[in-house]
Amino acid sequence: MTQASQMTVSDEVAIEITNMNKWYGTFHVLRDIDLTVQRGERIVICGPSGSGKSTLIRCINALEEHQQGRIVVDGTVLSSDLKNIDKIRSEVGMCFQHFNLFPHLTILENCTLAPIWVRKTPKREAEETAMHFLEKVKIPEQADKYPGQLSGGQQQRVAIARSLCMRPRIMLFDEPTSALDPEMIKEVLDTMIELAEEGMTMLCVTHEMGFARQVANRVIFMDAGQIVEQNEPEEFFNNPKSERTKLFLSQILGH
């Protein structure tokens, strides 16, 4: 019995992607993507590099523009209207492979910047919230340092805290542990697991299969811009249906 099944998933739809297509020039990166995410769902997206998994989640907060199809996030249709885009972005948190902290601001300022300027939260309140989330990711003592003084794992946890300070309803993770040393991967995964246990809707692009087994309630396998297979983690890992999935799993679980 995985932990995932103990966590609740509501019927409310958080993200709905229908028939979405995207091209880079003439290269067809995402083909006919259909995906519905319920509130509270934790989805792990995996696949070989270049399969379009990062592009897919980057389309959800409009870091990439899709050319065809429809994306609805939290009831807001993603169009080229800047107002909608900013609204969606402030509701959807995102963590990047290379953390992308702001190097000229302290950890605390990194965390309070968006709440103060986007949400118009008073400074003191924003700082309290920031400290709350920094404690949650277990690095409150680093609040006055600059990102360059922190280790990779600490930086990624700050990045998670920075997103959480906006009180997002959905979190996107774009390979959050791929740039980290093995020892630091665990501290970041622990933070993410804790987040999952609180019922956050999460979409993670990751190759951490242990994490997928433990928290995901759905694993999506992508290849060549298409969703090849999706299933519950137990079924996905023990009983993959497609040949492509079998090959992929044998390669990453091979040793």
Binding site: N61, A62, L63, L82, D86, K87, R89, S90, E91, V92, G93, M94, F96, H98, N100, L101, F102, P103, H104, L113, A114, W117, V118, Y146, G148, Q149, R162, S163, M166
Partner: protein
């Protein structure tokens, strides 16, 4: 490995090695000299040659300074006093001190105004240069330009005060349209402003087209070159005639259509307001105020400015204007809107492709042809505009380098947090891009400050103009070169070296990478 004993390979550390301080560097003058000056045959030879050159230079220059004459009537008097010995004639600096600093036409009893403006400049610049000073001091920095204008140019105090009031009023109008009024009210404002701008633009384009027809007529059709020019002017005229109404409608509609977020309409309203205010309100208001309660300093015309003061005025004003303008141009060049991007690219490339001296000649001579005959557009203002445009183009390219050096992830992180373009640019992108650009910006600023001496070519009497003109052409100081130019070089060096030291200090302050 099978024959190796396990004990000899396996190792477990049981005690931790305590950290110890690094070895103390060996010091001492002898050691330093040996290591840095005489570390080998080749270095020893180089050191000896260098010592010889330095010694010869010192021997040659020292008497020139030491024998220098500080009190003399003229160069002949100097030579008599020196009586054949090598020596400088520093008396020229004493005699023409005021001219070198303030030019030869500025009223002598007004020198205190310049000095006061200079001292206040330090106070005004301090909060902008040093982050740690209280932010309230920036209020004085904002007031300083108006105060300095009054001190240097004189006239009625009410002129700059009224100007300041109108600028503040423009800011209030902008705030009002952008934030305070309801969307319905803004719709009305946008409609009115849109119509005014549309009709105005159509009218201007129509006049321009007529002008083109007139020019075509005066070019005539004799010879191949004239015929081609005639054809081109007619083509442009037809183009402008055809476009004047659609352009007017397009721009007017664009302004009207921005009523919802209020960005464009607030900017245009503010611009229109300040134009009307400057044209119709400024003069009458300050004259009326001055009539009731006159506060005046003796007025000094722009052509009477001179000496190092003129270099300082041009340098300070142009640097402080061209940095913001350069930032806007750099951002505009990165814009995804083709019109804005195109305008910025053409501006930058054109200005960079033209020598500054050409622009100064345009400012001096050519603008008079384009401007209406009755307008007297201040010469210093024209020069300031030209130098500012010139250095802004260079600064824009330096800042573009800084923008390009930022990882894409910074833009994405800012976007993903929901910051809009203005916030992301102001809070995330510019602080980092400007930090990277500091050495380049300072490079341009230092170059610009020295380039202000080029105005001597369009017969303005800045420091170099004073030396080349009134001083060296006078009968007393007819062939004085080293002393005056050396003094000029010293003044420029002090300012430029200070700027460069400040920038290095700033770079250290802003270094948060700790890598």
């Amino acid at each position: 490995m099978s024959d190796t004993h396990a004990q000899s390979v396996a190792f477990v550390r049981e005690t931790e090695i305590p950290p110890s301080p690094p070895p103390v560097a060996q010091a001492g003058a002898v050691k330093w000299v040996r290591e840095n000056l005489f570390s080998g045959v080749f270095n020893t030879v180089l050191t000896l040659i260098a010592l010889y050159v330095v010694a010869r230079l010192a021997i040659a220059v020292f008497p020139w300074f030491y024998n220098g004459v500080w009190e003399a009537e003229s160069i002949r008097d100097c030579r008599d006093q020196l009586d054949g010995a090598t020596g400088a004639c520093f008396a020229v600096l004493v005699d023409r001190w005021d001219h070198l600093l303030f030019g030869f036409k500025y009223p002598q009893d007004g020198y205190w105004r310049i000095l006061l403006a200079f001292v206040l400049l330090m106070a005004a610049a301090a909060p902008a240069l040093f982050q740690k000073l209280p932010r309230k001091m920036l209020l004085f920095t904002a007031l300083y330009p108006f105060l300095a204008y009054w001190l240097i140019w004189g006239g009625s105090l009410w002129m700059p005060v009224t100007l300041l009031a109108l600028v503040i009023a423009t800011g209030l109008v902008f705030q009002l349209v952008a934030r305070q009024i309801s969307v319905d009210m803004r719709k009305i404002v946008s409609g009115v402003i849109g119509v005014i701008c549309g009709v105005g633009l159509t009218y201007l384009l129509f006049i321009g087209a007529q002008e083109l027809v007139f020019i075509a007529g005066s070019v005539g059709t004799e010879g191949i070159v004239s015929s081609v020019a005639y054809g081109l002017f007619w083509l442009m005229a037809i183009f402008t005639f055809a476009l004047c109404v659609p352009m007017g409608i397009f721009v007017g509609y664009a302004i009207f259509n921005s009523y919802e977020d209020g960005g464009l309409v607030s900017v245009v309203t503010a611009l229109l307001f300040i134009y009307v205010a400057l044209t119709y309100l400024l003069g009458p208001i300050w004259m009326a105020l001055n009539g009731v309660f006159p506060i005046e300093l003796q007025e000094v015309a722009s052509r009477d400015m001179g000496g190092f003061m003129l270099n300082m005025i041009l340098g300070t004003v142009c640097v402080s204007l061209s940095i913001p303008l350069g930032i806007l141009l750099a951002l505009g060049r990165q814009s995804s809107m083709p019109l804005i991007k195109g305008v910025c690219v053409v501006f930058i490339e054109f200005i960079r492709g033209v020598p500054l001296i050409t622009l100064l000649f345009v400012a001096n001579v050519m603008l008079a042809y384009f401007l209406p005959p009755e307008s007297n557009f201040d010469l210093i203002l024209r020069v300031i505009i030209m130098i500012t445009m010139f250095s802004a183009a260079y600064i824009a390219e330096v800042i573009r380098g800084g923008l390009a050096a930022l990882p894409k992830g910074q833009y994405e992180a800012a976007d993903s947090l929901g910051l809009d373009y203005t916030q992301a640019t102001r809070l995330i992108i510019l602080p980092q891009a400007l930090k990277i650009s500091i050495p380049g910006i300072v490079n341009v600023a230092v170059g610009l400050f020295k380039d202000t001496t080029l105005v001597s070519i369009i017969s303005m009497f800045d420091l170099v103009g004073m030396i080349r003109g009134p001083i060296q052409n006078s009968t007393e100081w007819i062939s004085v070169y080293w002393e005056v130019y050396g003094f000029g070089a010293l003044l420029f060096f002090v300012v430029c070296y200070s700027i460069s030291q400040y920038s290095q200090w700033l770079e250290r302050q802003l270094n948060t990478s700790h890598r």
